[in-house]
């Protein structure tokens, strides 16, 4: 983009590694180190996530049947996964019957090739885009650029990210890490025909985006979108949005291409009554998003006259094969989990090094990529959680993210070829031996008590690695001189009370 040249400084951007949109950059702890040092970003995130948390709680508490909706959403998703082959075939038949064309893509490269061919056939050199996680996941914009096609992001936040040469840090609000003043600077320095004297008033910034994009909408021949839902029964595709940029893209161009993950299918039209309540309230904390477009194939004279649906695998069948992990495919991309996550709130989305950050990203990304390769950066993601469970409580389709995280930790450590000895593994094995017998555990605690006596009531303030990972910021408690069980054993023994045969499982 030539508008970048000679422009004033824009606030620093995060890692700009060559694009591998599903996973780039270092391990989570290493990336988090840099993010934690960025005080401005933490302030921005804290403010934004707290705003959205309060709104979500308000509008979910308002519905007396919220929990029943979550249960139904969860059940529909579980049913969908069980019947996925049949539902996909049904969807394909319904879309085709209504004049649409269905394509199948095994991976990102195949999807990118399909889209490029459609754009070429339409004779277009530029396309307008509705914010879509699927097209980000496959790196479509970069691919199109390499093929000589300019892809214009039209969602305000995506536009901010694209203008800044930044990367999205949130699935719903990709520029959540930016505050209004940073956005003003990005617009002022990088948007063509920017109004003079642009202030940081969000309304003014939104109006600048409106003016910037209007001509693009009116002249575009091809639009590219994702989808929130695709109904197998009817072939209906739904896109939820707020600004109207989605409607512009889904209505004005002659050709529409929708790239949709195979897990986005829902069985029946009626199922929309569940998700149209769950998604808006969970994502932006509104009773309903301002705009939803639903279309079924092609409608003569109304909207695009050519519709292509690209059904994308790209690792989804890999995730589906994991009976616990597959629940990650139930995700409806509302982002409630990241908005309530205390880890995300501190590190931001870039630390996850993936288009899917936050708690859902920590379970989805490793499964889409597979854990067999034992790639350290990918394998670090399931560990990026304190397991506080706030995500599970917030999830509109009740994905048990903590359980999936713990399960994927096991896979991250043990998938692939044979045993991989590590310091942690050795320590865990030793601990397991001690902790599977009361007698052995007593001896282990005696070692601890001995240290307690040596320290004589002082707190430990500094330990060598790995203890330093604790003591860098925290003291350890005063070690007792005796464990509880040894304390009990020292006092006079009472008469037998039938403490149980099970109680004597150890050899003490």
């Amino acid at each position: 983009m030539s508008t970048y040249l000679g422009m004033p400084a824009v606030p620093p951007k995060p890692a700009t590694e060559p694009v591998a949109p599903l996973r780039w950059g270092p391990t989570f702890p290493v990336a988090a180190h840099d993010a934690l040092a960025d005080g401005q970003m933490r302030t921005n995130l804290r403010r934004a996530t707290r705003t959205i948390r309060d709104k979500r709680l308000h509008v979910t508490a308002e519905l007396p049947d919220w929990e029943a909706l979550r249960d139904a959403g969860s059940a529909i998703k579980a049913d969908t996964m069980q019947r996925l082959p049949e539902l996909l075939e049904q969807l394909e038949a319904a879309v085709t019957a209504r004049g649409g064309t269905v394509h199948w893509a095994r991976d990102a490269a195949e999807a990118n090739r399909i889209v490029t061919d459609i754009v070429r056939a339409a004779g277009a050199r530029e396309v307008v885009k509705v914010k879509s996680m699927a097209t980000q996941e496959i790196g479509l914009n970069e691919h199109l650029e390499a093929e000589g096609v300019v892809a214009h992001e039209t969602d305000l936040a995506e536009l901010i990210v694209q203008l800044a040469g930044d990367r999205p840090s949130h699935i719903l609000v990709p520029a959540i890490h930016r505050n209004r003043d940073e956005i003003r600077q990005i617009f002022a320095s990088r948007m063509a025909e920017v109004p003079t004297g642009l202030t940081d008033d969000p309304r003014e910034l939104a109006m600048a985006a409106r003016a910037h994009l209007r001509e693009l909408f009116l002249r575009a021949d091809v639009a590219i979108s994702g989808a929130n839902f695709a109904v197998a029964e009817t072939g209906t595709v739904a896109v939820l949005e707020s600004e109207g940029n989605g409607r512009m893209c889904l209505t004005l161009p002659r050709t529409l291409v929708s790239v949709v993950g195979i897990e986005k299918v829902v069985p029946t039209y009626r199922d929309l009554e569940v998700f149209m309540q769950l998604l808006p309230r969970s994502s932006t904390g509104e009773r309903m998003n301002p705009y939803t477009t639903m279309w079924t194939g092609v409608t003569p004279d109304d909207g695009p006259q050519e519709f292509h649906l690209v059904l994308l695998d790209n690792g989804r069948t890999r995730a589906l094969a994991d009976e616990i992990g597959r629940s990650a495919l139930h995700c409806i991309r509302c982002s409630a989990c990241m908005n309530v996550c205390p880890v995300y709130e501190r590190t931001g989305g870039h630390a996850y090094g993936s288009v899917y950050p936050g708690p859902i990203g920590a379970i989805l990304t490793p499964q889409l990529l597979g854990l067999e390769s034992r790639d350290a950066a990918t394998a670090s993601l399931p560990f990026a959680s304190s397991l506080c469970g706030a995500c599970y409580d917030a999830c509109p389709v009740k994905i048990d993210i903590p359980t999936a995280l713990v399960h994927l930790r096991d896979r991250a450590l043990h998938d692939g070829d044979g045993a991989h000895p590590s310091a942690m593994g050795t320590a865990m094995a030793a601990a397991a031996a001690a902790m599977s017998s009361g007698g052995r555990f007593r001896w282990a605690l005696r070692g601890l008590a001995l240290a307690g006596r040596v320290l004589g009531g002082r707190r430990i303030r500094r330990l060598p690695w790995p203890g330093s990972l604790w003591t860098a910021t925290r003291d350890l408690p005063v070690l007792p001189r005796r464990s509880f069980r040894d304390g009990l054993a020292r006092r006079p023994r009472g008469t037998s009370t039938g403490a149980g045969r099970g109680a004597g499982g150890d050899a003490s």
Partner: protein, 273 residues
């Protein structure tokens, strides 16, 4: 009632005064207390760290040790820890099944169904909210994530605290936010964990309370460690210690009470017959 105490490995080794307080409290309320000596750990650390296979023998030991509760020999098992109780309820069955031992899984679920976190036992099983405690201090309460979200203990702990004589309960801002402990998370992602506990410690200090309490020494150890490093005057105390404190036998710092306090109790270690 005859109640078995599941001490938990962390409390047994590092915070014996919390286990002693649990025993004192239950005996004061007129119950017979048993502390089975075969117990060690619930397996949570291994499961949460990605070592569920190593957790299987730990679970087996736990279930064997506490099986008498399933046979009616004891009326209940209680632990002074929300996360360990949550592990027995939500993890042990899965660990056993994954290890190919469905019989152990069923047994684990039977034991877990009679295992309670302290505030659950007091309020739901024993039906008491005023335990006759006396603790003349200002206290702020951190609810801990697993008690809050996996056990749904709700307002049981604060109901108990409000009934304590002389105690002034001070609201903790952002109480439901995680302290950043998360077991090995505190080591594997120590910087993020530190950022989280720094905010929690600041919230605690901001209350101006003399004490911070929780139903789980694991989270409390994290908060206490950060408070200590800050040199903050706030002291950390387990919920059981507050509830065990009376006018006649008031709370004393663990160093001065030591484990000898336990000897005042008539609790018996469980032994094989």
């Amino acid at each position: 009632m005859r109640i078995a105490v599941f001490t938990t490995c962390l409390v047994d080794g590092l915070f014996p005064h919390a286990a002693a307080a649990t025993v004192r409290l239950l005996e004061r309320l007129g119950h017979e207390v048993v502390v089975p000596s075969g117990q060690a750990c619930c397996g949570q650390m291994h499961v949460n760290s990605g070592y569920p296979r190593q957790a299987a023998p730990i679970v087996r030991n736990h279930v064997r040790t506490f099986w008498p509760v399933a046979e009616g020999e004891w009326d209940a098992v209680v632990a002074p820890s929300g996360s360990c109780v949550a592990s027995t309820r939500h993890q042990q069955g899965r660990v056993a099944r994954q290890a190919g031992d469905p019989g152990l899984a069923r047994a684990a679920e039977e034991v877990a169904a009679r295992t309670y976190e302290l505030s659950e036992l007091l309020v739901d099983v024993l039906g008491v909210t005023d335990v006759g405690a006396w603790f003349p201090h200002s206290v702020t309460f951190h609810p801990t994530c697993h008690a809050l979200r996996m056990l749904r203990v709700g307002d049981r702990p604060t109901t108990l605290l409000r009934a304590v004589g002389g105690l002034e309960l001070v609201n903790l801002p952002d109480a439901d936010q995680c302290c950043g402990f998360g077991g090995t998370f505190a080591l594997k992602n120590s910087e993020t964990s530190s950022a989280m506990v720094a905010d929690k410690a600041a919230s605690v200090v901001g209350t101006g309370a003399e004490f911070v309490t929780a139903g789980d020494w694991s989270c409390l150890m994290n908060i206490d460690g950060a408070l200590s490093r800050l040199g903050a005057p706030v002291r950390s105390v387990h919920l059981a210690e507050i509830l065990a404190s009376t006018r006649e036998d008031p709370w004393r710092p663990p160093a001065r009470r030591g484990t000898r306090a336990a000897s005042a109790a008539s609790a018996r270690t469980g032994r094989a017959r």
